[in-house]
C-alpha cells in the first residue's frame, strides 16, 4: 500500500513537470528594436532684477511705484518644448484689498495675462523676457495702513505649453 502511494505521488509529480515544461516548449521568437536611448527634456526658470533689487519709494493712496524690471530666463531642453511665463504677486494681508500689481512685457507693453505670456503660442527654450512690474495703492486705502510694510512677493513660473 505504501509503495502504491509513493508510486502515485511520483507519477503525479512527473505529470506536473511534463505539463509545465510542455507549455514552455511552444515555439516563440523575440526581436528587439535597435533604437538607442532617448532622453526626457528639462525646464527651469530663473529671474533677476535688472539694475539690482528695486528700492520702492513709500506708497500713499493713489500712488504707483516706478517700474522695476525683472529679467526672466527659461532654460531647459526638449525637442518640442515651449513655455509661457506667469507672474503673480502677494502683499501683506491688510494691503491685499487696496494694492494692485501689474506686470507687463517691457518691449511691447503687453500685460502679462494670468494664463501666462505669450497668450498664444509659446516661448522656446532659452528665451529671455523682461517684465516690468509696479504696484499701486488704491486711493481709498485707509489711514490704518500708514507706516506698515507692504511686503510684496513676486512669483515667476515657467509653464510648459503643450508638449
Amino acid at each position: 500500500m505504501r509503495h502504491v502511494r509513493i508510486g502515485v505521488t511520483v507519477g503525479a509529480l512527473l505529470a506536473l513537470v511534463v505539463g509545465v515544461s510542455g507549455v514552455h516548449a511552444l515555439w516563440g521568437r523575440s526581436e528587439t528594436v535597435p533604437a538607442g536611448v532617448t532622453l526626457t527634456g528639462d525646464l527651469a526658470v530663473s529671474a533677476s532684477w535688472l539694475g539690482g533689487s528695486p528700492v520702492w519709494a513709500p506708497l500713499y493712496p493713489g500712488s504707483t511705484t516706478p517700474d522695476a524690471t525683472l529679467r526672466v530666463t527659461g532654460s531647459g531642453s526638449g525637442s518640442t518644448l515651449g513655455w509661457r511665463v506667469q507672474i503673480t504677486s502677494t502683499v501683506a494681508t491688510q494691503f491685499a484689498a487696496y494694492t494692485t500689481f501689474q506686470a507687463r512685457e517691457c518691449v511691447t507693453g503687453t500685460v502679462i495675462p494670468a494664463g501666462g505670456y505669450p497668450a498664444s503660442g509659446s516661448l522656446p527654450a532659452g528665451a529671455v523676457v523682461d517684465v516690468c512690474v509696479h504696484y499701486t495703492l488704491a486711493s481709498n486705502a485707509p489711514g490704518t495702513l500708514q507706516g506698515q510694510q507692504v511686503s510684496p512677493r513676486i512669483s515667476v513660473v515657467a509653464q510648459q505649453v503643450g508638449g
Binding site: 515555439w27 535597435p34 533604437a35 538607442g36 536611448v37 532617448t38 526626457t40 510648459q160 503643450g162
Partner: protein
C-alpha cells in the same frame, strides 16, 4: 593409516558439496532453457509492412523586423519625422511613435501566433503614470491589451505601431533628464496555446 584417513576425509568433503553443486547445475540449466527460449522466440515467423504515407514536415514560426521609422508629435508643431530617436528630448505631452514593419511567419495546419511587445524595461522606475506604451498591429486580431493573434492566413508583412506617450499631466519637474532605453523594446511572437 594416515593416508586412508585423508582419502576418507576428502571423500566426505565431496559428499557434503553435492547438494550445492546440484543446485548450481539446476540454475545453469534453467538459465540455458530461458536463453534458448528467448532465442527461439526471435526465430518465429514475422512480417512487416511500411506505411505508404509520404513525409510530414514540421511548420515554422518566425518574426523579423524591417527598418522602423520614428515620429515625434508634440502639442506644438505636430508630428515630425525623427531620424535618430536617441537625439530627441521628450517632454510632457509628447508622443513618440515607432512604425515598425514586421514579417510574421506562421506555417502549420494548427498554428496560431500571438504578437506582443514588451516595454517593461522601457518605462523608468516609478514612471508608470507618466509614460505609457501602446501597440497596434495591422492585420492581426486584437486580443487583450497589446496582444494580436495571427493565423497563417493573416501572417506575412504587417505593420506594428508603438506609441510612447509622455503624459501631459506630469507635474512640476518630474522625470526631467530621464533615460528611456528604446533598445529594450522587444517584439515577441509566441505560439498560441488556445
Amino acid at each position: 593409516m594416515s593416508v586412508d584417513t585423508s582419502v576418507r576425509s576428502r571423500g566426505e568433503s565431496l559428499r557434503s558439496d553435492q547438494p550445492r553443486r546440484a543446485k548450481a547445475i539446476v540454475a545453469i540449466a534453467a538459465g540455458a532453457v530461458l536463453l534458448l527460449g528467448g532465442g527461439t522466440t526471435l526465430a518465429y515467423w514475422t512480417t512487416s509492412q511500411t506505411l505508404n504515407a509520404g513525409t510530414v514536415q514540421s511548420g515554422d514560426l518566425d518574426l523579423s523586423l524591417g527598418t522602423g521609422t520614428w515620429t515625434l508629435d508634440g502639442a506644438i508643431g505636430g508630428a515630425t519625422a525623427v531620424a535618430d530617436p536617441s537625439s530627441v528630448r521628450i517632454v510632457p505631452g509628447d508622443v513618440l511613435t515607432l512604425t515598425q514593419p514586421l514579417t510574421v511567419t506562421l506555417v502549420g495546419d494548427t498554428i496560431q501566433g500571438l504578437l506582443s511587445v514588451d516595454t517593461t524595461d522601457l518605462i523608468p522606475a516609478g514612471g508608470a503614470d507618466a509614460f505609457t506604451a501602446d501597440l497596434t498591429v495591422s492585420g492581426g486580431t486584437a486580443e487583450g491589451a497589446g496582444t494580436y493573434r495571427f493565423t497563417p492566413a493573416t501572417a506575412g508583412a504587417v505593420t506594428a505601431t508603438l506609441t510612447i506617450t509622455f503624459d501631459s499631466a506630469t507635474p512640476d519637474r518630474e522625470f526631467t533628464n530621464t533615460d528611456l532605453d528604446l533598445n529594450s523594446v522587444k517584439f515577441t511572437l509566441t505560439q498560441a496555446t488556445s
